[in-house]
Amino acid sequence: MNATTSAYSGRILVIEDDDSTAEEIVAELTSHAFQVDRAGTGNEGLALALSSGYDVITLDRMLPDIDGLNVVGALRARNIQTPVLMISALSDVDERVRGLRAGGDDYLTKPFASDEMAARVEVLLRRHAQAAEPTQLRARGLLLDRVAHNAFYGDLDLDLKPTEYQLLEFLMRNSGQTLTRTMIFEAVWGYHFDPGTNLIEVHIAGLRKKLEQAGCPPLIQTVRGSGYQFGPA
């Protein structure tokens, strides 16, 4: 997959005081065909976010004027539900919890890989765009039943274990998007530490095997250097 093609386009607001980090974010997001505005302070960011509609906001936790937590708080208090990706040098689990509790939708610690940041922005964008979650997801004859928590290829029951179901669901819901191992680990297992390289890989391998045994075409692609992506090759 080429980094310049993106499943969705949208307007992104980057609130970041550090110039080099901001440049990096803006460059990466622009390369994903997003329209990007940047604010250097919390007040400026808040004014921009309030005046024009953005699809996603990336927000530095440590700003020179207002704490990032307060920026999210102010947005949510004005009933602005734009998804916010908080970016912070504070990696502590407690800080993550505080960030999410204040109204952030995702949390990324510095230093981060820019492709991971872009992947998270895309997931937020898509989640926001899907007004109602469908009860069934389909792709190439593969059907994911979100009520029965199972998947079928044609008439064949894939007989997925709970973890395998959650993994497939996360991949299918974000079909066409690159998902990093950390994102998968966070979404499926709910933990926020480094799962190591192999751990997620063997789970993906297991799922691939089940799909293959059912005769399903290969739908889970490996994105070199980044992670995985669901969708036809």
Binding site: K161, L199, H203
Partner: protein, 471 residues
């Protein structure tokens, strides 16, 4: 982890032995004892003086009576004696006039008392030998003399009053001595309890410092000056130690932190280069390798930062009573495919659940690291057993494998950052996993023990000792 000395119980015997170690208590008790002794001596002196004075008085009375009677005529003598006996309503005076052959002529004595020397001087009489004469008397002083007409005059007096005084003096003496001793001990307790409390505070703080919390300081008391001087010296030493340790840690943390940013940029540029290549490009393999290596480096720095983050974490905000079995089930589910890939069987022992006050996410991470290690080091065909037991110290989580094990002399070293046993050189890893486990376990106040599994490999155990409340 250090072993803790048995905490002094709150029993009174234990409290007393604890008090006895306090100088001020011992001094107060000693002074109390000495003062009580002095009071006893004082009372003895008073008694002795009183007894002497009383005897002198009695003797004077006896001499006066003898003088009056001996100078009276025979007829007058009978009347005088009768008068004196009538006047003695307390019945403490005894008189007798006897003929030279011992026959009683007048008075209320039937015979001359035994062992009375007729020398005209007052003397003590042995009461037991003259019990028939002085029925209820306790102590008798008597005077006997031969009259001019050859008769014998005996004047005696019961000095029981003196004995009563002695008794009440003795009672008073013991009573006061007891009161003084009691006051001494109470005073000692009163003055020493703050010291005992202070020492307990020092004990607690020292225990926490020994457990690795270098931010603790010894408490200063209110009036235990000599303890405070020592505590201040120790505190100053701790300040310096903490500063030095902080510097070392900050230096290594800064290195880790500062290198992460350029490494991330390096990774980004490798990544971008790779993305810009045609799919058929022959450079993919080399770039992939570079990317993998950079990821490993980043993972190592992340782990290092994570350890220092956990070590510096003092808050227990993430702590809540958490059941352990669901965590273990989830972990086994997460690691089972990885184990199966290496043809290792991963089993979870059936057992009772236990609820522990912990940060579930951190505990998950710690046990996950243990499983990761076990899977790495267990050869194909091996087994890894995860178990939850409950022993007298609390719940025990154990991860045992059938791998090569860790020699007992290296078990301490493997907890050090970046330590890798020689046998582990060819196994990918950072050497930080067990340090991270140790940091998490220490944060919880649990114990982390490495020993040998019955399968021959490593048995790593987390002893979830239930916390005594710390304030």
């Amino acid at each position: 982890m250090t072993s803790r000395p048995a905490r002094p119980s709150e029993g009174s015997a234990a409290l007393f032995s604890e008090l006895w170690r306090i100088t001020s208590f011992r001094l107060t008790a000693l002074y109390g004892g000495l003062f009580a002794l002095a009071v006893v001596c004082l009372f003895a002196l008073i008694y002795w003086q009183t007894a002497r004075y009383q005897n002198q008085q009695v003797d004077q009375i006896l001499r006066n009576q003898a003088h009056v009677f001996s100078s009276a005529t025979s007829d007058q003598l009978d009347d005088d004696i009768a008068y004196e006996i009538a006047r003695d309503i307390r019945h403490i005076s005894f008189f007798g006039v006897f003929a030279a052959d011992g026959r009683p002529l007048a008075g209320n004595l039937a015979r001359v008392p035994h062992e009375l020397v007729l020398n005209g001087k007052p003397q003590a009489l042995p009461v037991e030998r003259n019990a028939d004469l002085f029925a209820q008397a306790l102590e008798i002083r008597a005077l006997g003399q031969t009259l001019d007409n050859g008769n014998v005059l005996v004047v005696a007096r019961d000095v029981a009053v003196l004995e009563q005084i002695r008794q009440s003096l003795l009672r008073g003496c013991f009573l006061i001595a007891a009161v003084i001793l009691l006051l001494g001990v109470l005073g000692g307790v009163f003055y020493s309890l703050p010291a005992v409390r202070h020492i307990r505070g020092i004990d607690r703080a020292a225990q926490r410092i020994a457990d690795g919390d270098y931010s603790q300081r010894l408490p200063l008391g209110l009036r235990n000056r000599e303890l405070d001087v020592l505590a201040q010296i120790v505190n100053a030493m701790l300040d310096e130690t903490e500063r030095l340790m902080g510097e070392v840690k900050t230096a290594s943390d800064n290195i880790a932190h500062d290198l992460r940013t350029p490494l991330t940029r390096l990774r980004a540029s490798i990544y971008r280069t790779q993305q810009s290549l045609e799919d058929s490009s022959p450079h993919h393999a080399a770039l992939n390798h570079a990317l993998t290596q950079t990821d490993l480096l980043l993972a190592r720095f992340r782990a290092l930062s994570r350890i220092s983050e956990i070590e510096s974490k003092r808050r227990r905000a993430g702590f809540s009573p958490t059941p352990l079995q669901p965590i273990l089930r989830k972990l086994v589910g997460l690691y089972e495919p990885l184990a199966n890939q290496g043809e290792v069987r991963l089993t979870l022992g059936a057992g009772a659940d236990a609820i522990v006050d912990c940060d579930g996410e951190l505990l998950f991470e710690a046990i996950g690291n243990l499983l990761d290690n076990a899977i790495k080091f267990t050869p194909a065909g091996g087994v890894i057993r995860v178990e939850l037991d409950i022993d007298e110290t609390g719940p025990v989580i154990s991860v045992a494998d059938s791998g090569p094990g860790i020699p007992s002399d290296l078990r301490k070293s493997v907890l050090q950052r970046f330590y890798r046993a020689d046998e582990a050189r060819n196994v990918p890893g950072s050497g930080l996993g067990l340090s991270l486990v140790d940091a998490i376990v220490r944060l919880h106040g649990f114990d982390f023990v490495l020993d040998e599994a019955s399968e021959g490999g490593v048995r790593a155990r987390i002893l979830c000792r239930q916390q005594r409340p710390t304030q």
